[in-house]
């Protein structure tokens, strides 16, 4: 079996590439990824988060296992508004029905594209529907035993971060 940390970091890369691709094509903005940080629990706070659950298997020469996890993409309010405004070519100063699902759509596309990259590596992933969490300065907490990688991003429309929560299934 491969080393967990090495395997987890290589699992994260497609998600980094995917969200950068979403921002590059649909938001026409470059996202710069900071260094991934392992945390036992996320200590990061945000105003809007989009979340999708993951159920998967990994079968290749080194590994044969099942895992569960989630992808969380989180934004401060202003970055979220700037993202929506740039995507749609209109200025939004507050969240409304038109842009409330921007985060879920970005999460959905990021997950879909990451899956495409992970498939040839032996991953088979089932994903849940996206959910949106809103609330000033909230934190998304996972159950005990879940490993979390946090990847910060910067751009000229603001910062955001993604969390990949992961646990090998028993």
């Amino acid at each position: 079996m491969s080393d967990f940390n090495t395997r987890y970091l290589s699992f994260c890369k497609p998600f980094i590439d995917a969200i950068r691709e979403v921002y590059s094509t649909m938001v026409t903005k470059e996202l710069k990824a900071g260094s991934p940080v392992f945390k036992e629990q996320s200590g990061n706070y945000a105003d809007y988060s989009a979340l999708m659950g993951i159920n998967g298997t990994l079968k290749n020469e080194e590994d044969d296992l099942q895992f569960k996890g989630s992808l969380v993409i989180s934004w401060p309010l202003q970055t979220y508004l700037n993202t929506a405004s740039t995507m749609l070519g209109e200025e939004y100063k507050e969240i409304n029905d038109e842009i409330e699902d921007v985060g879920m759509e970005i999460c959905n596309i990021t997950m879909g594209n990451a899956k495409k990259i992970l498939n040839p590596l032996g991953y088979k992933i089932e994903m849940s529907i996206p959910n949106l969490i809103s609330g000033d300065h909230h934190r998304v907490k996972s159950e005990d035993g879940v490993k979390t990688i946090v990847i910060p991003f910067t751009s000229d429309i603001g910062d955001l971060f993604i969390e990949l929560n992961y646990k090998d299934s028993e």
Partner: protein
Amino acid sequence: MAIDFSMRVLVVDDMAVMRKMVKKILKDLGFAKVDDSANGKIAFEMIKDAHATGSPFQFIVSDWNMPEMSGIELLQKIRADETFKKLPFLMVTAEGEKDNLIIAIKAGVTNFIIKPFTPDVFREKVEKIFT
């Protein structure tokens, strides 16, 4: 053959932001009559009603993953109806996996586009359908 920008277009997606974005791209391309629906089931009713009232939709742009009726189910329903067998249908999907694309082709999709996409890529897909 030039694109007839006076044709009626229906955009189907459960996400408001995608409906807005695709409608904007279509209008920027020159399409004058673009409607939308958040739901495949309602979209099929709109397609039937439009035909019945003499103002039919001539192009459908639909997301794949939607609750109640998915884009693939909408496509299958359209293709099963003699009236709409040849209605141009562009499938929009976040998952470009080969198996899914094969399912869409077998169901009779005219073309598909994988998210994320730029307006230029969208335009190319539309041109491929109509020119």
